[in-house]
């Protein structure tokens, strides 16, 4: 149970961190699928 909760909490933390860092660089996730 602790393992499942820890996985979920860490996943949320990393997700928030990823989005924040990308946005801070002017690269909002969601607008990233521009034609290559």
């Amino acid at each position: 149970m602790v393992f499942i909760v820890a996985l979920a909490v860490w996943a949320a933390a990393f997700y928030v961190m990823d989005r924040y860092i990308m946005s801070a660089q002017g690269l909002p996730v969601g607008a990233d699928m521009m034609p290559l």
Binding site: F3, A6, D18
Partner: protein
């Protein structure tokens, strides 16, 4: 007649220097006489030829040797004072003795650093008088500050080392550490000034397009590549210094016979390896920043580095860094035999080794291959269908971050092997750390994959969350461990209980670091191509071309071997200093 006490005169001189030195160091452009004169453009005939001496190879060899020695003598006092401070905090004399021993090795290398630096300056003024004349004009009074700081560095270094026992206890210890702090401040200032000159040659500032001085010395100093270079060299010096004193510890471990002395040098080797890894962990990111700034300053320069013939050297760089990683990890795994509980962790070593070897293989995989015409026909191009995608940065970044995470895991296993947590939530704490590793590694891999499906700007941007993930895993684990291991039951660490072959891993580190620094120095310097000062002052000497990889390899290897010979001499000298001849019979 007024008599001035020597102490008053000294304080007055120091006060005057403090007051006026910044003014000299940061002089404005006004002192050039108001005439805007461009950089000199010497012709081939203006470069002195002395016999058959290759001016560039001579200057290159001396510069590289000076850099190796300077990096070492600047870095050791940095972690020496940190070790001394740990001795004060922990009230454990072993730290203090080790810090002093670190400095003892530096002392033997210091005069050689100055000697080679003097040789380099002479070679540069002799063979490149126009370039050096122009550099003197740009940096004006700062060159005098450099000389003054060098004098101060010598004084503080000698005082710091020789006052060790005189200022060992109580308040005097703090006076001693203050001298050490001053020594490090001066040492770092010297490095920052030298970096300004080097980076100015790559990304000139404070001058116009023709090289006429339009700004202050500070503007020339604060050129676009100065700070990235400062950070990169600062971290690299710490890793390098740690690796060299690690080599010294291994040398002493193998040479000594007494178990007690072996235990001391085993502990010193472990600490040195720790320092080397500590400096090394953030180094790839500092290098990444430096390269990003190079691209940002001049795309042409960036492409010369990463997209042309020099790009192949980054594959050699990967091989060397992989060697460093494997050697450092091997040493940590060997260290598990120092504790009785270490054996229970050895079953994980093969998995860590697997990740590090895979990461290493990904890192050395080139994007396109050098092939014969026949091979090219069989493959259908220079790009391998399966391995080719591993040649681009998202794969490399993923590999290097995972290698760093698992190197930290090796270290964590060692410090865990000597402590048994006693807190009631230890099991839950371990579970949270395991979850952190799993999610963090998945995030690193995920961000790498993300780099393949998005445009370049996102690919580059996604490398930042990868770095932060690595740091989160390391810092998160250390934080949880620091709470979980409070009041932990300590197990005895049997220092000296190491097999001898583990010490050879400590020899691999300084050799690989030295060769790597020489290699990367060649790349950084070659980025200027046929310019002394990029886009401002052309190199018209007969050797104004990028040396071939073969020639560079020979020069770097020769300098590395020479440096290693110097280091063995320094180690031998340190040991000789501690050797006492037994009194002849009858004279005791």
């Amino acid at each position: 007649m007024i008599r001035i006490k020597p102490k008053t005169a000294l304080i007055a001189t120091f006060a005057v220097a403090v007051l006026f030195l910044p003014e000299i160091a940061l002089a404005t452009g006004a002192d050039t006489g108001g005439v805007l004169e461009g950089a000199p453009q010497p012709t081939r005939a203006d470069y002195p030829q002395i016999g058959g001496i290759s001016a560039r190879t001579l200057a290159w060899g001396l510069a590289q040797m000076h850099l190796f020695l300077a990096a070492f003598v600047l870095a050791v006092p940095l972690f020496s004072i940190a070790t001394e401070f740990m001795g004060v905090v922990s009230r454990d004399d072993r730290y203090d003795n080790m810090a002093r021993e670190f400095m003892k090795i530096t002392m033997a290398a210091y005069s050689l650093t100055a000697l080679v630096g003097g040789g380099l300056a002479l070679a540069l003024f002799l063979f490149y008088p126009h370039l050096m004349g122009y550099m003197m004009k740009v940096f004006r009074g700062q060159t005098l500050i450099y000389a003054a700081l060098f004098g101060l560095e010598s004084i503080t270094l000698y005082v710091y080392f020789y006052s060790w026992d005189a200022l060992r206890h109580g308040n005097r210890k703090w006076v001693h550490m203050s001298i050490g702090l001053l020594l490090n401040t001066v040492g770092l200032s010297l490095m920052f000034i030298a970096n300004a000159w080097t980076s100015f040659m790559m990304s000139p500032a404070g001058v116009d397009a023709a090289g006429a001085i339009t700004g202050s010395v500070w503007e020339a100093t604060r050129n676009p590549l100065w700070n990235p270079l400062n950070l990169h060299r600062f971290l690299a010096n710490i890793a390098y210094g740690g690796a060299i004193v690690g080599g010294y510890s291994a040398y002493m471990f193998l040479a000594e016979k007494k178990a007690e002395t072996k235990a001391h040098y085993d502990w010193m080797g472990y600490t040195s390896n720790f320092i080397a890894i500590l400096g090394f962990l953030p180094l790839p990111f500092a290098g990444y920043w430096l390269m990003a700034e190079i691209y940002s300053y001049s795309q042409q320069m960036g492409i010369t580095a990463m997209g042309g013939i020099l790009a192949w050297l980054f594959i050699i760089q990967a091989v060397l860094i992989g060697t460093i990683m494997l050697a450092a990890n091997y040493y940590l795994w060997s260290g598990l035999m120092r504790t009785d509980r270490g054996a229970q962790y050895t079953k994980y070593v093969k998995y860590i080794a697997f990740v590090i070897v895979c990461g290493f293989l990904v890192w050395v995989t080139p994007h396109s291959l050098i092939l014969s015409a026949q091979e090219l026909q069989v493959l259908g191009g220079t790009h391998h269908r399966l391995l080719g995608p591993l040649g681009i940065m998202p794969a490399k970044n993923t590999a290097v971050n995972l290698m760093l995470v698992f190197t930290f895991l090796s270290f964590q296993m060692f410090y865990r092997s000597s402590r048994v947590p006693t807190v009631s939530w230890a099991r839950a704490g371990n579970t949270v750390i395991i979850a952190l590793y799993i999610v963090g590694c998945m995030n690193i891999v995920g961000a790498g994959i993300y780099g393949y499906i998005t445009p370049t700007v996102y690919k580059v941007g996604a490398s930042v969350p990868q770095v932060v993930s690595t740091l989160m895993i390391i810092l998160g684990s250390v934080l949880i461990d620091s709470f979980m291991l409070r009041g932990a039951k300590s197990e005895k660490i049997h220092w000296g209980r190491m097999h001898e072959r583990s010490q050879y891993a400590l020899f691999v580190l300084p050799v690989a670091f030295t060769w790597l620094m020489g290699l990367m120095g060649y790349i950084r310097s070659s980025l200027r191509t046929h310019w002394h000062i990029y886009t401002i002052m052309k190199d018209n000497s007969p050797e104004a071309y990028i040396p071939t990889i073969g020639q560079a390899g020979n020069t770097i290897t020769a300098v590395t071997l020479a440096f290693m010979a110097v280091m063995v001499f320094v180690f031998w000298l340190s040991r000789l200093g501690a050797t006492k001849q037994a009194a002849p019979a009858g004279q005791e």
